[in-house]
Symmetry: C2
Subunit: 147 residues, 2 copies
Amino acid sequence: MKISTKGRYALRVMIDLALHDTGEYIALKDISDRQGITVKYLEQIVTVLNKAGYLRSMRGNNGGHRLARKPFEYRVGDILRTMEGDLTPVECLSESADGINCPKAEECPTLSFWRGLDKVVNDYVDSVTLQDLVDQGKSLTGYDYSI
Amino acid sequence: MKISTKGRYALRVMIDLALHDTGEYIALKDISDRQGITVKYLEQIVTVLNKAGYLRSMRGNNGGHRLARKPFEYRVGDILRTMEGDLTPVECLSESADGINCPKAEECPTLSFWRGLDKVVNDYVDSVTLQDLVDQGKSLTGYDYSI
DNA sequence: AGAATTACTAGTAAAATAGTATGAAATGTC
DNA sequence: GACATTTCATACTATTTTACTAGTAATTCT
């Protein structure tokens, strides 16, 4: 029942990009220095975020990444689902590519319980925006605007 | 963000024991036949449930297991936490045995978000009792009271 | 041309998950 | 008391997932 590092780091990357948004592209090297995550691992994460349309990326000298939208336009749930695949607590609630779900769904005494859990989780993560996390970050002791 | 088979199966075992409660001990063999889970794997699960005080177990001929309380006295959250360790979405919220949590907690922009997720999950699973699942099971099409 | 940076594909070590296997101990029945 | 049945305890194992690392190609600016 854990969120993977990809999901957690993706949130930190998005917050980092929001806090350091100057309109310029931000290199993974800079994020790596601030967040303590290797450039190589960050590459994997931003690739997914980029393909989801959450980032604008540019190769080459002075290249890097920046947010494609304003922070309040990102739901945290969307970011997490993008990284995790989905946030369903049990496999039988996943959108299966081949359309196969549990054949015993009709007689399953726990299915509606899992549906309820799935709903509270997704409703919660969708109620928070990236802007909320950014505001939280700025309000904390020790936040250094210069970095 | 998945519940393991141990957590899912434990719920099925508890429901099974509730639905077939006659006051007698129920052998894992019977649960295995009905639920399609091997006796050996069931052993691992009921051992944990037993040590948590959720079951009364008896060895030997005509031995087996039965619920220690009435179904409405079990919160689903307690059963799941017993099997999963905890239901926290991130490690830093776990009750660490050595008391070590994240040293950057004070400056973490995502901590309160994770706390909120932890709360909605645990509040939800604690709002459902085993009796609710049993009622759900009985109400479904295809439930055969004879087995 | 050359440095910086992302993009793409593959590989790998460690941990977690989902079981199996073996045998001992207890209990009721014949 | 022998025996079948069942839990209890411990250890082992195969597979999958996670969390990275590595190498190289492509792009961009100076």
